[in-house]
């Protein structure tokens, strides 16, 4: 633990810390452009200059200098200030003065730091500024490369975090240009994070270009629902529209990244919206009033023949309100696994990501069964890459996909789980922190029991470590399972029970043909498959338009806040279910959102506490359990997995250009 003195204040810093980190610990703010906590150190912007003794009598770049015992660091001397001013002046030689039309304006590092270190005027009045051609980085990233200050954060992000060689630098010195190789679009699922990383306006968001200024946006803390990771996001809204979604820092969940889908599906919130009540009359949906809809549902006299299916995006409150309504009617026909999966949920620990996302980084042998992690949870894939960088071995059972780290594919048949090749079982026997990640495709093939047997066999649970992980794909899944949205036989049980009324809480992946003759009431926010199949449509709120509780695949309880109001006649889901209870003549026991949450917390106490829920111990596996069948991944198109994304023009464009771009090019030829 070296002891250093920062501006006369003596502090102890962890071994291996840099001078910049030491200054941060001492509470000194060091200006920087290229340095970023989560990326490797480049030391090329020179903005973080400080004076260090002992050492050469000149300013030193603090980000790349290790803190050593007895160092005397000054951050406030005239030499430091002049040096930084000099660096800023160099940076501004070629940086255009287009802040008024730059999308980064107001949230630009260069703008902010030039307030402290910029000169009042330029000494390069007669020289032209360097101009750099724009680069094509795909439909999400807009480039104005003249603004680039060569910090190379984007290059390092692509190489280190994303694990793809998509962005690099050409030429040298002043002529250096950041570009995608051969001008191809950046296709990685985390590509848009370089927009946040860019300290200037060189890489900005294309869909958000010239849409708004940061200071006119209302910031709301929310949770991403595009996958089961539950990334912490901030929704920036203006008036009634969500303008953009940005990641929040949460080291346990998303660090500070966000998948492109979570970031850019928000424009889908303004398209294909359900904003009126519709009732099917003689085979055709017609506009109606809330009163007529409730009367029509009551006229079906469901009694206890009522069922509910939860969609992938709903919050726990909605599911609990529906459960309370069904409970009051005397029914327990609840299901959330829309595609018909029927894995055993008697033990919640057996269907959760027990290692936690931060924990999986420390695993040293990982078996992925039936999960296209890159598409099902792009942020988990970044964690896996970190694990591999720390020396973990990764094996995958399932069809091949492009991993961003070295991985061995063991075949497409889930039966491999029972008879692993010798080198794989050796790797797991020798591993201290072995882990298995079970995807939805594996669960569909009944791999849960064999995976538990695998966990027993290789000691996946030992002191302080639980390597048994199930990676879900739906934001509502864990919450739904905690609230009892599961039948022993899956959705087939619901169909077999022949309910009179089926409440579909935004369920768009269900095969509704199994429910012919049932009064299907769709309570959701987007006109998708569910709305087309429905007999009565009640417009509800999307994740941005209601407060809600979400549980991610780790079993982490997180709360999201309401950013904007739902459009038109749409109401928050729980109010619809509460009104429906009146129409059906039953009492659900809550009249306000606070009542509802109170009742939910009383019923499932784990939901009342933010953070990881205690899901209990992993059950013993059955050593004889077997599963076989060829794994097919459920996600066919990363960008179009939920009704909001399918409605989003940006996501449709991404799907067309990034995933099917080659087909398009072929068709054009």
């Amino acid at each position: 633990m070296p002891k250093v003195t920062v501006d006369g204040q003596e502090i102890e810093v962890p071994a291996g810390a840099t001078v910049l980190q030491a200054c941060e610990l001492a509470g000194k703010e060091i200006p920087r452009f290229c340095y970023h906590e989560r990326l490797s150190i480049a030391g090329n912007c020179r903005m973080c200059l400080v004076e260090v003794k002992p050492g050469p009598p000149k300013p030193q770049a603090s980000c790349a200098l290790p803190a050593a015992d007895g160092q005397e660091i000054r951050t406030d001397t005239p030499m430091v200030k002049t040096a930084r001013e000099g660096v800023m002046e160099f940076l501004l030689i070629n940086h255009p003065l287009d802040c008024p039309i730059c999308d980064q304006g107001g949230e630009c590092d260069l703008q902010d730091q030039s307030v402290a270190y910029g000169r009042g005027g330029s000494r390069y009045g007669r020289e032209n500024k360097r101009a750099v051609t724009e680069k094509n980085m795909g439909p999400l990233i807009k480039t104005i490369m003249t603004r680039c200050i060569h910090c190379t954060r984007c290059v390092r992000f692509s190489e280190e975090i994303a694990g793809v060689d998509e962005i690099g630098a050409l030429y040298r010195g002043e002529d250096m240009q950041i570009t995608t190789y051969l001008e191809r679009a950046a296709t990685h699922e985390l590509s848009a994070n370089v927009i946040d990383l860019c300290p200037v306006g060189a890489l900005t968001s294309r869909p958000y270009a010239f849409e708004a200024r940061p200071w006119e946006l209302k910031k709301t803390l929310s949770i991403d629902v595009s996958d089961a990771v539950g990334a912490n996001i901030r929704l920036d809204s203006r008036g009634r529209e969500v303008m953009r979604a940005l990641p929040r820092i949460n080291d346990d969940v998303n660090e500070e990244w966000l998948s492109d889908k979570g970031r850019y599906m928000v424009d889908g919130l303004t398209r294909r919206r359900l904003d009126k009540v519709w009732i099917r009359k003689s085979g055709k949906l017609a506009e109606a009033s809330w009163d007529q809809a409730f009367k029509a549902i009551a006229a079906a006299k469901p009694g206890k023949n009522i069922a509910a299916i939860a969609g992938d995006l709903v919050d726990c409150e909605t599911m609990f309100a529906a459960k309370a309504l069904l409970g009051a009617m005397g029914s327990t026909l609840l299901e959330g696994r829309q595609t018909g999966m029927d894995y055993d949920v008697s033990n919640m620990a057996a269907v959760a990501f027990n290692s936690t996302f931060a924990g999986i980084e420390t695993a040293d042998a990982i078996l992925i069964v039936g999960s296209h992690v890159r598409w099902e949870a792009a942020l988990v894939n970044a964690r896996l890459r970190k694990a591999v960088k720390h020396g973990a071995k990764v094996f995958v059972v399932g069809p091949e996909w492009e991993t961003t780290y070295p991985a061995t594919f063991l075949g497409e048949d889930v039966g491999v789980l029972g008879k692993l090749p010798k080198d794989v079982s050796d790797a797991f026997k020798g591993a201290e922190r072995p882990a298995i990640i079970l995807g939805g495709a594996a669960l569909a093939k009944g791999a849960l029991a064999p995976a538990l047997a695998f966990a027993d066999k290789f000691g996946l649970v030992n002191d302080g470590w639980n390597g048994f992980n199930v990676l879900h794909m739906a934001a509502s899944r864990m919450g739904g399972l905690m609230l009892g949205y599961a039948q022993a036989g899956g959705i087939a049980d619901i169909a077999a029970a022949k309910p009179k009324v089926l409440l579909s809480l935004g369920a768009d992946e269900v095969d509704y043909s199994a429910f012919d003759g049932v009064l299907k009431v769709y309570i959701g926010h987007h006109g998708d498959k569910g709305a087309h199949a429905a007999d009565i449509i009640l417009p509800a709120a999307s994740y941005a338009e209601k407060d809600g509780t979400y549980v991610n695949t780790e079993g982490r309880v997180q709360y999201a806040e309401k950013a904007v109001f739902a459009p038109g006649d749409a109401r928050e889901d729980w109010t619809i279910l509460r009104a429906l209870a009146d129409a059906l003549g039953v009492s659900v026991g809550f009249d306000s959102f606070a009542d509802l949450q109170g009742a939910m917390f009383a019923a499932v106490p784990a939901l009342g506490e933010e953070g990881l829920a205690d899901l209990g111990a992993l059950p013993k596996g059955d050593a004889k359990a077997k599963a076989d069948g060829v794994i097919t991944y459920p996600i066919k198109d990363f960008y179009l997995t939920n009704p909001i994304a399918r409605a989003s023009a940006v996501m449709q464009q991404c799907s067309a250009e990034l995933l099917h771009g080659d087909d398009l090019a072929e068709a054009a030829e």
Binding site: E211, G239, R240, E241, T270, R272, D275, K284, G527
Partner: protein
């Protein structure tokens, strides 16, 4: 205009008193394209300006006076416009009174009365219909 209307209203054309006064003390000097009649006093006391006035054909709206007669009414022209001004050119647009408050009033582009659609703004959304 009914007789009762003439007696009890003042906004359409001259009142009975004005008509009487115009007949008694004034003489008509001309009419404009809209049928408004222009009068001047027969006698002008020494040292005062000639009295000039207009009787509207229809609504009493000062904007219905075309510019040439406006000039005459306000004493800019010594004599009636026809005697001073060059004849109207064929490309000259006919004078129109102020249309504010009428159906012909100007509506900016995008006004609903003009059948316009406003430009997109934040908060706009596209609603779903069963046919979409």
């Amino acid at each position: 205009m009914s007789v009762l209307g003439k007696i009890f209203t003042w906004w359409d054309g001259a009142t009975i008193g004005t008509l009487l006064n115009s007949w008694r003390t004034g003489e008509q000097v001309g009419t404009d394209a809209q049928g408004n009649r222009y009068f001047r006093a027969r006698k002008t006391p020494a040292g005062t300006n000639e009295r000039r006035w207009v009787l509207y054909a229809g609504a009493n709206d000062a904007s219905r006076v075309p510019p040439e007669w406006h000039g005459w009414l306000h004493g800019h022209f010594v004599d009636v416009p026809e005697s001073l001004l060059p004849p109207a050119k064929i490309w000259e647009v006919e004078y129109t009174p102020n249309a504010t408050g009428t159906l012909g009033a100007y509506r900016p582009q995008g006004a609903l009365e003009r059948g316009g659609r406003r430009a997109g703004a934040s908060g706009d959304y596209e609603s779903w219909t069963p046919d979409s």
